[in-house]
Assembly symmetry: D2
Homo-oligomer: 310 residues x 4
């Protein structure tokens, strides 16, 4: 369907969003297992909107690089679908909300090694395993993809942070070995976790993330051509909406009404189908692991613009 936006002008709106939602005092949590994330000042807040017509609107700390963490899962999924095709990808991971924590092993045991969706850690490890079929250095392949879509050399892997995170990866190693035990991992558990952690340690700005995600708002058309078919692009949106916010996907769909994917680095990427991609970032997290200020800002933005898909 064709869409005409009746939204208010974006520049003053984003500025107002920043004014309203930038944290005034320390609240929320930071992930204890990733020291580099704890060091980010609590009052960082940035937002960027990249539209399908090529404009980019930003406000706040939209040009400060942050750790994309699980936002990477959207892009690795797109890459795996592009390279291996949906049949192969969906034979090893489901597309259902999990109803449990993102790093739970329980569901994996009950469902015999088939992760519920590609956005919980177990599913993302399977996706990374797919990418490693082509290259052992899947993290660098992701970096190249992001750099191309973001349209500049900004994104980089914070290798020091990756190393530290790798030394705290017992839970992900447990998941990977468990997948291996069920025969759902081709590469070694250690190498998959290493690539996974390096993918999560990619640093990008709100502006870069919004531009990199634009192909999902544009029916699969990326910076220099088709990334995915229109239908696959839409379907990634559906998975973001049902599974993208850890165990708060329903709440986010209720309050924001848009496909989104969060990371424990405090970033959230959101797609307004046919119109724009949004990235908001603020480091402090709520109890479900999603950016506290970022979620509130997106709910506010959705209310003011009427961008909910519902």
């Amino acid at each position: 369907m064709t869409t005409t936006l009746d939204a208010p002008p974006l520049d003053p709106l984003l500025d107002d969003i920043v004014r309203t939602h930038r944290p005034q005092r320390e609240s929320g949590t930071v992930p204890t297992h990733i020291p580099s994330l704890a060091a980010v000042p609590f009052n960082r807040f940035g937002i960027a909107v990249a539209t399908v017509s090529g404009e980019v609107f930003t406000s706040g700390d939209a040009y400060v690089p942050f750790s994309i963490q699980s936002i990477s899962k959207v892009f690795t999924l797109a890459m795996a679908l592009q390279r291996e095709g949906p049949v192969s990808v969906w034979s090893r991971v489901l597309r259902e909300p999990s109803g449990t924590a993102f790093n739970s092993l329980v569901q994996l045991e009950v469902e015999h090694g088939i992760p519920r969706n590609p956005f919980i850690n177990a599913g993302a490890l399977v996706v990374t395993d797919h990418l490693m079929k082509e290259t052992q250095d899947a993290a660098s392949a992701l970096l190249r993809f992001l750099t191309e879509e973001a349209g500049g050399p900004g994104p980089f892997i914070d290798e020091a942070a990756a190393l530290t995170e790798l030394s705290n990866s017992s839970r992900n190693l447990a998941l990977a070995h468990f997948l291996k035990d069920f025969g759902n991992l081709r590469q070694s558990a250690e190498s998959v976790v290493e690539n996974y952690v390096r993918q999560c340690s990619i640093m990008m700005t709100c502006e870069e993330v919004a531009k990199a995600a634009l192909f999902l708002a544009r029916g699969g058309i990326g910076a220099s051509g088709t990334v995915l078919s229109r239908s696959e692009a839409k379907r990634i949106g559906s998975i973001m909406l049902t599974c993208g916010m850890y165990d708060a996907a329903g709440e986010f769909a209720y309050r924001v009404g848009l496909p989104g994917k969060s990371g424990v680095g405090g970033g959230i990427v959101v797609i307004v189908p046919g119109h724009c991609a949004i990235c908001v970032w603020s480091p402090r997290l709520d109890a479900k692991g999603n950016s506290l200020a970022g979620s509130a800002a997106l709910a506010d933005l959705s209310d003011r613009t009427g961008w909910s898909v519902f």
Copy 2:
């Protein structure tokens, strides 16, 4: 946002959908605990589309009454929100996908009596308990609501079927007593289950269901005035999309991309926000309890019209 539909003409399209998807031979299952459902001929297939502009398009068995079963949960939720308000309703039931079967007691135990969402049985029992605050005969109140929205005296409660189903309601009684044990039921377990079963036993045609659900496509505006605020109507859509198809919500979002709610009577109601409400019906079910032919028809319809919200 304003929406212009580029869809093909609906009349021939619906006829073609019926031709393509009406079951040719017996496959799928019927619920064993509700004898009246097993008696429906396997090759029944109907579809109706009610648009926000007031038109209704139908094809196949669109005027044959069927048992709405869990489709009723969308309407009781709307009624509870209308009468008790969101604060009261959402204090007793969550809005998250469950990741488990619709009648599971496990989640309820783990989350101490708060159902994951209003579309699993436990959540629907809590919603019915809300409605009973006003009247002990909540099922008749629902019938009046549906009759008014559907615009005619068609809908009726199949009391004989309800009685039979009630005598096979051990699982729902277990859920209700369990809710009671957690202090999340005000009325007696027995009376809540009785109302719940009678609500599920309401008979309607595809045409009536589509018209009755139209207020959700029309920002909350019903047949004779406001049922819900625009924002509450959108939010019911978000819950349908994330939780409406039992444990296949993700799959349905992926294939159809629209908010939907199914019932074991073989009906599915779907909302195209701002445009129309659809009801499709065919009695045989897939392994997750959703209409086999109905799901396929909706995926096909979504592909051909581009109505996906993503």
Copy 3:
């Protein structure tokens, strides 16, 4: 094997146990769902030992009636085995420790309606259902059995307490309806729960319980003849040891080393095979629902007498 006891003289030993373990100040909990239990003074403490040679040793409040609660499960199991035979009984309930709380519905769902053992509530409901095959008033049948074995008219059903407990039986009703749903209950859920609650509300003294349980220490020989075969009696002992103390069976086996069964009334019955039956009672409970002072006293008694079976 023949057993010779090298234990110290029992009379002074029991007096010392009472002196040491009678609670000096209020600690531990009482079950909130059974008001009559909360009214018992915290410092009640009684102990009785009935030997296979016919002697009975007592100390403390050994002649004060208390609510036997789940201790009744040992006796109803014995009655069901006596009347229906092991094949019938064990076709509907397993003999494995549960690893979950005594009133959990989770295990029942995972194992499709077959309770893990006869001492969790679900299993005891199935056992009561067995007894009701012969008489609808299974609780009175149990009372007759206990009166005969205890050798006097002491035991009685506290009908007022039973009525109150029945009005707080939502969890047990949930379990019973759930069993019914799985086809593992012949009588109505309501009537089984009523009998179950009345069985639990039987009042007995330590002296009476010890005498009533003596047939288990005596290879199945009761007050006036064979209750069970030697092998069935031993096997009830094995189930007590592996499953008799809710989710603390392993801990009790470790500390006491004897087959035991506790009740939330604060009583614990213990069997020293070939030698004696013991009942200890003190109303305040630990976190697992077992008598705080009673457990400690039995560990002490086992250490001092060497009565552990290991």
Copy 4:
């Protein structure tokens, strides 16, 4: 208590047990993840009884070495208690039956990294981690212990089998990394699993296992002095009885009535407190992973001798 045995003479009895229970045709299963075990002829059957008075009775293949597998867990637990003391050991592992499979990760997640008992794999990994405090080569330390208690140089590590098993250890690596994530592993996950697998790969005969376990029947007194206090020895017996047979501990307690520990190599060690240690071996397993013929033989032996502790 002093015990006098009224059992029949052992030599003809054991010969008869072998005649009755040695498998006549192939039935039961072998563990697929350990190729060396699958190669053992299905009709192997051996039994040995070592009495506290120093006699050893044997029959069948009692002098053929087999892979002790999880039987090792009894001995590593004894060694950890001996070296670290009960306070340290029991702060990191519980003593309760698990109610789930021996290699399940579910319980570990629910109970935050504290294994239910030392005989499920997770618990045994924690015990091995204890032993590694003293020496990185905990498997060789266990071998020395077993050699000394068995009274001869027979036991050896099948290093080739260990290597193969190690390459199929994804599940155990998952458990170890999961324990590490919860902070309940001091050594590296990889080194703990390697030691664990080498311990499991120790080869011993029935005669050697029975003699090595004799200290548990003798109140803690081993071949050349005290291994454990009488009370700790009894307590290991209680854990064997409640947790020693995977998820069939209740069934084994019911049928055999003695503390036992099985291994997937087909061996079972059993303690008759104060009297003897028994080892039976036959390679084919039942659905719970316990020796099919071995379990039946022990039930028969217990019936004929009256050795049940109940």
